[in-house]
């Protein structure tokens, strides 16, 4: 190793001196000044070492030096130096995106050739906003090489917040003539046709003049939020902000804003599952032809009958369109046999023959369809039907007394005790039931108010398991083997709970005998000599009723809630003594039969 000429600066000496400085303790404070000779020698040695080490630096630099010439050239230089990209370079300057590309971040540019830009609509060129949108559609943050489209396709967000599909050969359908040029600040691909920014599914639907669009417009509202308004100053008297008139308004759409929480702590944007204007998700959206829309409306109208024709009409309209968005990209040539819509999930069976038009949009695809087919409801329990079954949990009892309208929806003021008991199902899962005991009321009842009841025929089921005190009190009772002990009688009612609802008489509930698996004879407890019984966990069918109109908590908020919802009752026995009038309820289930 050769020694280079030593260039000793004051700084070097200072560092070396500090390095060698000995910090003596106690009485030896003067030590360092008496040892200068020795120190000087040491400093010399150190400096020599430093010199040797610094001489290595250069070689190390050589070793790691960047030799790839492309890395020293920038995106903008390359675009400017390529005569075939002169038009695009011109537009970059016009839209100031040349400044963006000159910053230190990494970008990917899909640059269209001059030939590709020949066909560009002059309106785009002449409208600054449109041109910006157009140019930004060719640029994305970060470096995207074709190798990153490993699974065939990757969605890349461009600078105008839209997404393009990037495959190893194409970007949003246009073929890359030159690709993967890795430069100092990103990647340059050259494309033979420009990629025009597409509208989102929402923008596409709103650009049509279909009945469906008109329906969506009826549920678009302009709202005012002072927090969003522009503040021009502070009122010196009140200390309150002065808001600029005309600001603070924003629009909301009931369809887009709907929130469905499948995860309790999800962010608000994640809850808005049917927000088809959202650029980060991919949707398949169905736009009905006017004929199909009218037919659907006519079909559903009868389930949404209310006292007011206008209310019925708007309810029906909303229920036609509320389930027309699907998660992900559904290819019409490979429609799945059944698919669940987003939000409150209805099972659809899509038919490719009904597709009239196909529109690729920036966040998925929109199909214009002449008919749709979905599960309306079949009379068996299925939560993915359009007319939803209703499950009323026993513990959701609503016995709030409303003296204003006793006849409309009755409650008992003297309730006795409400016990919510948690128990284990035979399969190990837990359930909670309402146990009303010691209320001493003749014909006591519990009232329930489901959120939504359609005007349709419902089959009524309930589950009332009793899992305690199921051994008869006396040793020999009941005398008859195999008989069930009835522990209480209850009935289902709508309307006036004191009067028996037609079709829903008192039902006797009991427990099941434990049978010997071999002989099928009723088992007897060897110790007590009593017959053995077990809890009956089965759901019981009670009968059916037809709702006279559509009820919903969310319609007509100015109307009294009692009029908007249907009161449903579980009614206890005509007795004032426990345990004869004890009431049990795990749940009531209403299954629609459209």
């Amino acid at each position: 190793m050769e020694l280079q000429t030593l260039l000793i600066t004051r700084e070097h000496i200072k560092i070396a001196y500090n390095f060698l400085r000995v910090r003596p303790r106690g009485t030896l404070k003067d030590f360092k000044f008496k040892n200068m000779n020795l120190l000087k020698q040491k400093i010399l040695l150190l400096l020599m070492c430093t010199a040797v080490m610094s001489s290595c630096e250069k070689k190390w630099d050589d070793h790691t030096a960047v030799t790839e010439p492309n890395f020293s050239s920038q995106l903008l230089d390359r675009i400017n130096s390529n005569p075939d990209l002169s038009k695009f370079a011109e537009y970059l300057v016009q839209t100031n995106y040349d400044d963006t590309l000159g910053t230190g971040k990494a970008y990917t540019v899909w640059a269209p050739t001059n030939a590709a830009l020949q066909a560009l609509d002059p309106e785009v060129i002449n409208t600054q906003a449109k041109l910006e949108l157009f140019v930004a559609n060719h640029i994305s943050n970060l470096s995207f090489l074709t190798a990153s489209a490993k699974n065939g396709m990757v969605r890349v967000k461009t600078l105008n917040k839209k997404s393009v599909s990037f495959t190893p050969t194409t970007v949003d359908g246009s073929v890359m003539t030159s690709k993967d040029l890795y430069l100092g600040n990103g990647v340059l691909h050259i494309i033979s046709t420009a990629i025009t920014p597409k509208p989102s599914a929402w923008q596409l639907v709103m650009s049509t003049n279909s009945l469906q669009k008109q329906e969506l417009e009826t549920i678009t509202f302009t709202r005012y939020d002072p927090a969003r308004a522009e503040v021009t100053g502070i009122d010196p008297l009140t200390g309150k902000p002065i808001l600029k008139p005309g600001t603070g308004f924003y629009t909301q759409n009931r369809f887009l804003q709907r929130q469905f929480s499948d995860r309790p702590s999800a962010a608000e944007s994640a809850l808005r599952q049917s927000d088809i204007s959202h650029e980060d998700s991919t949707f398949t959206y169905i736009l009905l032809t006017d004929a199909a829309f009218t037919a659907e409306k006519a079909k559903l109208r009868k389930y949404f009958e209310t006292s007011n024709a206008d209310t019925t009409d708007s309810l029906t309209g909303f229920n036609v369109i509320k389930d027309l968005a699907f998660k992900g990209f559904l290819d019409k040539d490979n429609f799945p046999a059944s698919v669940l819509s987003v939000g409150d999930s209805v099972r659809f069976h899509l038919d490719k023959n009904a597709v009239v038009e196909t529109h690729q949009v920036s966040n998925g695809v929109v199909y214009v369809m002449s008919s749709i087919n979905y599960d309306l409801g079949s009379g068996t329990y299925d939560k993915y039907t359009k007319i939803k079954p209703i499950i009323i949990e026993g513990e959701s009892i609503n016995n709030t007394v409303n003296t204003a309208d006793q006849n409309l929806s009755m409650v008992k003021a003297t309730n006795g005790t409400f016990e919510k008991r948690s128990r284990r199902n035979p399969d190990g899962s837990f359930y909670t039931f309402l146990y009303r005991v010691g209320h001493a009321q003749n014909i006591n009842f519990s009232r329930y108010r489901p959120n939504e009841v359609h005007k349709v025929k419902y089959k009524v089921y309930w589950r009332v398991p009793k899992d305690f005190n199921i051994v008869p009190a006396a040793k020999a009772s009941p005398l008859v083997a195999g008989s069930t002990i009835v522990f209480s009688q209850m009935r289902f009612a709508i309307g006036n709970p004191l009067v028996e609802t037609p079709g829903f008489p008192y039902v006797m509930h009991g427990v099941l005998p434990v049978l010997d698996p071999a002989t099928n004879a009723h088992q007897i407890d060897p110790i007590s000599g009593k017959y053995l019984y077990k809890t009956d966990y089965d759901e019981k069918y009670l009968g059916e009723f037809t709702a006279s109109r559509y009820y919903s908590r969310s319609i007509d908020p100015f109307q009294d809630e009692l009029k908007r919802t249907l009161a449903i009752y579980q009614v206890g026995a005509a007795s004032t003594t426990a345990p004869l009038n004890d009431m049990y309820l795990d749940y009531i289930k209403l299954v629609p039969v459209p």
């Binding site: 030896l28 030590f31 008496k34 040892n35 020795l38 309790p264 948690s422 128990r423 837990f430 899992d467």
Partner: protein, 592 residues
């Protein structure tokens, strides 16, 4: 005068130059100003106190290791995706030689320190720097700590070298010719002998300087409880009468009246802090949430070490269990154990000790809570906590285990389940006015005699009427064994008042004792999960069963650990299956 000054100056310069060149080391080998040199320690009784507390300071450094080895090897804890390979090895029973968790060195470092301290206490006594009475207390404390460390080593490594010499460094301990490895059984014999030979086994008398608070913490509960340690050693050894004897001593501290006295761990009684640990089952979590010096320690916590946010070391459990790093989580099996319980009112799941108390659920993640109950991830520097080494819950279960093996299964049943006064209630008919003979275990051995008489009008309460079983305190229904399998149900009435049951079917007693142990092992999982008792408990039972019927202990241990993986839907690792093939596989590789 001037000349002489110059000479002196020159001379000094020369001296300094010489010193700096030739004898730097010696010159600067001064005694440190902020720490005590070895030669200056051990001057008086306060130095002796400092030595004892210093040892416990070192014990805090192995807290995380203690919990990882004692719990992650067992069936109640599992690793998260964030856990590193070393923790995974512990979890899968496939421990490589370089695994730092399995290195016994930190244990031996403390042991050698203990040896050194004990040696110096001997010197102090000989030099009259320590009174005999002071010596007795402190020497016994250090010996107990060393014994506790050796017991831990024996549990995890099986055969270990037993070193009692004061060594300068741990390297000397590696000399196998001087310190041969002892089998676990030989080790237990040695440990019991040493403990029995100690000057005192009772707790530190009030007024001892060793009990003076340090940094606001009263150290009495920090020291390993010698009587409990004796009970544990005998329980491991299989000497059940002696084990019960020492456990009963703990029950009876201060005359054993929990209503009047603190520190009587009289089996989960309400006692003077009834409002703290009531029967309602809703306050069990206070054992963990209350601070180090709070009331819950009076009748529940026997042995605990504080971690303070202001002092080193930082609470080591946060790194293991807290959501920020999240290396270890409760196993799915542990969660199922709590969910499978039924409460006294018939409703499902152990709410007093399960979700929200021993562990929490946030989204799909489950976190161990009882070890760091007050830690909040948004307040990361508030790390104060405590390390509970033993408490009434596990004392009760150990007593029940010992009593069952000593033929007192009804007593064991009462301690696990409900109350002595309920189990022994029907000795006399309710109509009999004379209550002298009811609600007590009539046992000639005083260690098993419990008077739990309880009644109203006239009101009478005997000491043990306040007792609650582990399950009843958590508001759970009784857990039972199928009597018809073990007892001759055709015999009317009860044959013994020591054990309130019918005579055994021929040859069924051993199977019954094992069945009783099974319900206790299940109860350990609910009461003491994550606290560092699980692996020792499983190993103790496995060793006992293996001794009775070769093969049964191995199968037992393998099945219990394999259940953890089966419940989580994971394949059973080869290392876990190997537990069932050879007892050697139960132990960690011993590499210093």
């Amino acid at each position: 005068m001037k000349i002489s000054n110059k000479r002196v100056f020159r001379g000094m310069m020369l001296l300094l130059l010489g010193m700096s060149t030739f004898s730097c080391q010696k010159t600067f080998d001064l005694l440190p100003e902020d720490a005590l040199d070895y030669s200056q320690a051990y001057q008086n009784v306060f130095d002796a106190d400092a030595a004892v507390l210093g040892l416990y300071g070192k014990v805090t450094r192995i807290a995380d290791k203690y919990l990882v080895l004692n719990e992650l090897r067992a069936d109640l804890e599992d690793v998260t995706p964030q856990a590193d390979n070393y923790l995974r090895e512990i979890n899968d029973h496939n421990v490589s030689a370089s695994n730092p968790w399995a290195n016994p060195r930190p244990y031996y470092e403390i042991i050698i320190n203990c040896n050194d301290v004990m040696h110096n206490f001997d010197l102090m006594l000989a030099n009259k720097r320590l009174l005999q009475a002071d010596y007795n207390i402190r020497y016994s404390e250090v010996a107990a700590l060393r014994t506790w460390l050796y017991l831990q080593l024996g549990i995890h490594y099986g055969t270990v070298p037993y070193i009692t010499d004061p060594l300068q460094s741990i390297e000397a301990a590696k000399d196998e010719s001087k310190y041969p490895k002892l089998s676990f059984d030989e080790l237990l014999t040695k440990l019991i002998d040493v403990m029995q030979g100690l000057p005192t086994l009772t707790r530190i008398p009030a007024g001892t300087s060793l009990l003076l608070p340090i940094d606001g913490y009263a150290p009495a509960k920090i020291f390993i409880n010698k009587e409990q340690l004796m009970g544990d050693l005998y329980l491991w050894k299989g000497n059940y009468p002696q084990a019960s004897h020492y456990y009963k001593k703990l029950f009876n501290y201060n005359g054993g009246d929990p209503v009047q006295n603190n520190d009587a761990y009289a089996a989960l009684t309400l006692g003077s802090n009834g409002s703290d640990l009531s029967t309602a089952g809703s306050s069990w979590n206070k054992i963990f949430t209350q601070g180090f010096g709070e009331r819950v320690q009076n009748n529940e916590i026997i042995n605990q070490i504080p971690f303070d946010r202001n002092f080193a070391p930082v609470n080591p459990f946060i790194k293991l269990y807290a959501p920020n790093s999240y290396l270890i989580k409760p196993s799915d099996k542990a969660i199922q154990n709590w969910r499978n319980q039924t409460r006294t009112d018939g409703s499902p799941s152990d709410n007093a000790r399960g979700e929200g108390v021993s562990y929490t659920r946030v989204g799909t993640n489950t976190y161990i809570k009882k070890i760091i109950p007050n830690y909040n991830p948004v307040n990361q520097f508030e790390t104060t906590g405590k390390w509970i080494i033993s408490r009434g819950g596990d004392l009760t279960l150990k007593f029940a285990e010992s009593a069952n093996r000593d033929g007192r299964d009804s007593l064991a049943y009462a301690f696990v389940n409900s109350r002595i006064r309920d189990v022994y209630a029907r000795v006399v008919a309710p109509s009999v006015v004379n209550k002298t003979n009811e609600m007590q275990s009539f046992d000639s051995n005083p260690d098993y005699y419990f008077d739990a008489r309880f009644g109203d009008s006239p009101n009478y309460r005997r000491l043990w009427s306040y007792q609650l079983g582990v399950r009843l305190r958590a508001n759970l229904a009784e857990t039972k064994v199928d009597s018809s399998q073990f007892f001759d149900m055709s015999v009317p009435g009860v044959k013994s008042y020591i054990n309130y049951h019918k005579p055994f079917l021929p040859g069924k007693e051993a199977a019954f004792r094992t069945a009783m142990e099974d319900i206790m092992i299940a109860e350990w999982a609910l009461e003491s999960a994550f606290e560092g008792h699980r692996w020792p408990t499983l190993i103790r039972h496995a060793l006992r069963r293996e001794k009775e019927t070769p093969g049964s202990g191995r199968a037992f241990l393998r099945d219990v650990i394999a259940d953890k993986f089966i419940a989580a839907g994971k394949p059973v690792p080869a290392g876990v299956n190997a537990l069932g093939t050879d007892v050697k596989n139960w132990y960690l590789p011993f590499n210093f």
